[in-house]
């Protein structure tokens, strides 16, 4: 089996952002520039997540997806703020191949069922945000902000039974921290379902990748910070950022990257694929 390497791009308004624990967002740049670079470097898929859509009840991803899909020919999963079958249709028309659904599915699980019946299970990714509290993993919504009191292991069975074709499993505790994937969470979830599981949240260093390959059965690994910081260091064209409004982080990027340096090793797609191969798994070359 070939392990897929998937950069995740968190989107706020027109910008690529990244937070810690899915909060404290920083603007990094235009998502399609990062996306195109990752495509060229050999990313196996891409995930776009509109991280505030659920909160503000709006859908503005369509234009960004359209622009991205013009010159990128790998699967693109888009999530954030999807509430209806019509929303799914709009995103697929714009260029998404799959949609990731979390908040709306918690409130209305039939959306997964309906989506799978109309567009096929391969199109419906269940995004699950797991947070460890009171001795168990609880499913969260609205990008890790809201509790649901749903047990993650029960919820994952439910979404698979409803027809979800893949699980995008985020550890809210680890996201953006660079402390490594939550191996126990990923292992337990992959063992409990028959559909592919994408591990996400916490990847910061090469050993995190080695560990997730050797100690879990994740079908795909998803990361963002390591790729974005690598992009910023190697490819940032300052012209691109002049037009932006909130670019405090970019202006101070040197300092900020130094700040994260102890936790984050900047890596390109090929660096990650090399580590996966060395850990004994296969990657697309």
């Amino acid at each position: 089996m070939t392990i897929r390497i998937i950069p995740r791009l968190d989107i706020k308004g027109p910008n690529l952002v990244k937070g810690i624990h899915l909060e404290g967002l920083r603007v990094l740049g235009k998502p399609w520039n990062f996306a195109y670079r990752y495509y060229q470097e050999g990313a196996d898929e891409l995930i776009y997540m509109d991280v505030v859509a659920s909160l503000y009840g709006r859908n503005n991803l369509t234009e960004i997806v359209k622009k991205t899909a013009e010159n990128i020919f790998i699967p693109l999963t888009v999530g954030g703020g999807i509430r209806t079958v019509e929303d799914i249709k709009t995103l697929l028309r714009a260029g998404a191949d799959k949609v990731a659904i979390n908040t709306a599915a918690i409130h209305n699980p039939d959306l997964i069922k309906e989506g799978a019946e109309i567009f096929g299970s391969q199109c419906i990714v269940s995004a699950i945000e797991a947070k460890y509290m009171n001795g168990r993993y609880e499913a969260m919504t609205d990008n890790g902000r809201e509790k649901t009191s749903k047990d993650v292991f029960k919820w994952v069975q439910e979404v698979v039974n409803l027809g979800a074709g893949e699980i995008l499993l985020t550890s809210v505790d680890r996201d953006g921290t660079g402390f490594g994937y939550d191996l126990e969470l990923v292992r337990k979830i992959t063992e409990s379902v028959s559909v592919p599981v994408i591990a996400h949240g916490g990847c910061g260093k090469p050993e995190h990748i080695t560990n997730i390959i050797k100690k879990s059965n994740a079908d795909a690994i998803c990361a963002s910070t390591i790729f974005h910081y690598n992009y910023l260091e190697n490819y940032v064209n300052s012209e691109e950022f002049k037009e932006e409004g909130n670019i405090e982080f970019i202006k101070q990027k040197t300092n900020s990257i130094v700040f994260m340096d102890d936790r984050i090793t900047k890596m390109g797609i090929n660096d990650v694929k090399k580590i996966v191969t060395e850990a004994g798994a296969e990657c697309r070359k």
Binding site: F73, P75, F119, Q122, C123, G165, E166, V195, P196
Partner: protein
């Protein structure tokens, strides 16, 4: 290449727009249609498809597209089936019951054998990248003048499927892939009828190459 047009059959199944974008990207025109005359008289035809086999055949019947596809194939111009669109080219499928296909290529569509009891190593559906290779010990230029021309053996493509095509005559399988316990047909060709089990429009530069080759055929 600029004036070349590829017609994509629209029968309500699957995402046709990513195929359209790929065709536009390589500099050809794409026409998405369910019009029988346009299908029958196309220069080059793509039969796409994502979803269930039985429903797809029902949709084709309901739109009265099947006859148009047959007429197109009789014209000897090239037809390319993609994913479910490739499976529909075969005689019959055993996906959720038993369904008759277009029967342009003799053979069956069956489910992957259950890979392992605990689903750890190979899951169904296969979702992801897999290598294709020429069947047997073929010469290096085996794929010359096919849609796979100048694609290296061992090249990766993006697959999403639970069912596989088994042609009666193995010689029509010009590329194979391996998944779980199955060595299966990844690319089929009989005369002017072609099919890819994977999605070229989602397989990066190698996938775009397949569309470029299809234009040249």
């Amino acid at each position: 290449m600029k004036d070349q047009k590829i017609t994509i059959v629209d029968y309500g199944m699957g995402n046709l727009f990513s195929i359209e974008r790929a065709i536009n990207y390589i500099g050809a025109k794409a026409e998405i249609t369910s019009d029988r005359l346009k299908i029958a008289n196309a220069d080059k035809l793509i039969l796409p498809g994502v979803g269930a086999f039985g429903k797809a055949m029902d949709e084709l019947k309901e739109r009265k597209i099947i006859e148009a596809v047959y007429r197109f194939v009789e014209s000897k111009k090239p037809l390319l089936g993609i994913c479910l669109g490739m499976q529909l080219l075969f005689t019959e499928s055993f996906e959720f019951g038993h369904h008759k296909g277009l029967d342009l290529i003799k053979g069956r569509v069956i489910r992957f054998r259950d890979p392992d009891p605990n689903w750890v190593n190979f899951k169904i559906p296969q979702i992801g990248w897999n290598k294709i290779k020429s069947p047997g010990e073929e010469p290096w230029d085996y794929w010359k003048n096919t849609i796979l021309e100048s694609i290296p053996t061992g090249c990766f493509f993006y697959f999403v499927h639970s069912y596989i095509c088994v042609p009666e005559n193995k010689k029509y399988s010009i590329a194979e892939s391996e998944y779980g316990k199955d060595l299966y047909c990844a690319v089929i060709n009989k005369d002017n009828v072609w099919g890819c089990q994977f999605h070229p429009e989602k397989s990066g530069e190698a996938g775009l190459k397949i569309y470029r080759n299809f234009l040249k055929i």
